[in-house]
């Protein structure tokens, strides 16, 4: 099922949570809504679900205008951050609930509901826990029950709000891989919200980066990581270093020195240079490069992270150098970013 978000705006009282957001989600896709807290990602998810309603704009499921439908009519599967399991029901009853509340001919017979619930529990690898209560399960198990419950109603779209947010690191990793497998075997259109970029990049077909109620960039994980289209995306995803530069006739200058970076097409004037600390090369020729003095360095696993003072100690940037590099405190290092972007200063 395609999902189309068209010019949606959402205000809570006077507070604008989303400004004119549009998004096309293709059938069967696994989409991550990624952003810091307050970026509007959960609001967008809830609007798609029908738990909240847009102030302006519309949401389409296929050709249908879903914004005319209540949450009950939309037939979506929603997995809540804290699972929201029904505490007084057994695991089996939790999973069967969505089928039990159907009306008339749509409601399967009791044995069929139970069979479907059992099948789903088997599918999420929780066989044997049917009679347990949510309180008697671990966090990871609760998460699986919540997913099985959402899948039971054969949803058109599966929506997950911070699905791994409440789990510890180990369980998180496992469940992440497992969710990918579930997605591949069920083929549901799936949207999940996360503030964890690693999770988004690893899991999603496409990542929607959000900030302050706007969509900053939509793209495949490689695209948003390698070609961030704004300073916000650059600094939010992955490690980044930033340097104030100026552009003059296609050349990038830092403190009046050319850096040997070709910025054809960028407008002249003040700008900000972004690069990844590991995407650099150390150069011998200090003439056309960024030159800095080592202010601090720390060893992390396979590399050494070095903080350099550049431009007369006014700026600091971080780069990664090989562990066998002889640099110590006060050593001068000249380097050039291999992959980088410049954005005009605001």
């Amino acid at each position: 099922m395609d999902v189309t978000v068209k010019n949606v705006r959402k205000e809570f009282g006077d507070f604008p949570a989303l400004h004119d957001v549009s998004l096309d989600i293709r059938s069967g896709e696994l989409i991550a809504l990624l952003g810091p807290s307050g970026s509007g990602k959960t609001t967008l998810l809830r609007l798609i679900a029908g738990l909240d309603f847009p102030t302006e704009g519309a949401i389409y499921f296929g050709e249908d205008d879903a914004s005319l439908k209540s949450v009950q009519e939309r037939n979506i599967g929603f997995v809540f951050q804290h699972y929201a399991l029904f505490r007084h029901m057994t695991v089996l009853d939790n999973v069967g609930f969505g089928l039990k509340v159907r009306k008339g001919r749509n409601r399967p017979a009791k044995p069929d509901i139970e069979k479907r619930a059992r099948d789903l529990l088997e599918f999420v690898q929780l066989r044997g826990l049917e009679k347990r209560y949510p309180n008697q399960l671990s966090g990871g198990q609760r998460q699986r029950v919540a997913l099985a419950r959402a899948l039971a109603i054969e949803p058109k779209v599966l929506l997950l709000d911070e699905p791994f947010g409440a789990l510890d690191a180990q369980v998180r990793k496992e469940l992440r891989r497992w969710l990918r497998e579930v997605h591949e075997s069920t083929g549901h259109t799936t949207v999940f919200v996360t503030h964890d970029q690693e999770e988004a990049l690893e899991l999603a077909d496409r990542v929607v980066v959000m900030s302050q109620g706007r969509i900053e960039q939509v793209g495949k994980p490689d695209e948003v990581y390698d070609r961030p289209n704004s300073p916000t995306v650059f600094s939010f995803i992955g490690e980044s270093s930033k340097l104030p530069v100026s552009i003059n006739r296609g050349q990038v200058y830092f403190a009046d020195r050319p850096l040997g970076l070709d910025a054809q097409g960028s407008a002249d004037g003040e700008a900000e240079l972004f690069f990844r600390p590991h995407d650099i090369e150390i150069v011998e020729d200090a003439g056309v490069a960024i030159v800095g003095i080592v202010a601090a360095s720390r060893r992390t696993a396979g590399t050494r992270q070095v903080e350099l003072e550049v431009g007369g100690a006014k700026e600091r940037v971080e780069i990664e150098i090989p562990v066998d590099h002889p640099a110590t405190a006060q050593t001068r290092i000249a380097f050039r970013p291999k992959r980088w972007s410049v954005f005009p200063s605001r």
Partner: protein, 285 residues
Amino acid sequence: MARNIRLPDPTTESGTVKWVTIAVAGLFMAVVLFIPLLAVFLEAFRLGAGAFLAAITEPDALAAIRLTLLVAAISVPLNMVFGVAAAWAIAKYEFKGKAFLTTLIDLPFSVSPVIAGLVYVLLFGSGSVLGPIFNSAGLQVLFAVPGVVLATLFVTFPFVARELIPLMEDQGTGDEEAAISLGAGGWQTFWRVTLPNIKWGLLYGVLLCNARVMGEFGAVSVVSGRLRGETVTMPLQIEILYNEYNFSAAFAVAALLALLALVTLILKALLERVYGRDHAGGVRH
């Protein structure tokens, strides 16, 4: 493209259902609580303010008010000291049998006030062991003020403890341990660290305890003997006047107690604002 779709919020009811529910609850509250309260004051002033004043300044009524205040002046501090001590022992330490002790403290809430009176009649009445001993020492307990105080103590026993135990358990022992590690002694710790932390809860418990002390009827009526001007508290005075068909005088005294109840409720509501609903919502009163 502004659109006017009014879909129901999935976690609330429709406006109609909401207002019908509020109306049902309001009607129930009115019939059960508001109207009876109103009736007390209206009946008290039925014969005018003069009659009201005459009724509450009549010697027997004044004696009843004096006795009620005396009983409160003895019972409330005693139960307060007990409440603080019990809450300290239960909340600040881990020991076996704690849950059982808590249940025992709650016991008087589950016992009929009449039985609270009965136990003291059996203890000090004719045929008892203690009664003659106290009598020969010149101290009459039953059908005298000491009996009234004892029965009241029994009935209002758990109020302060009940209020303080959950509050002090929530606060944990960190503050006290810090004070002691800084060299404070036990009493210093209590006065300077613990008491400021629990003062609102304590006041709240004392308030409820006091309301119940002054209003206790069942237990007191069993042990009092109803000697006019001597062992008759305000609630008993109400009963006596009522049974003599002196309704407006009965309601006049009742109005005083109802006023006390209202003041208690208002103070309680204010306290809840001061120190948060969580610790002021005690249930088993």
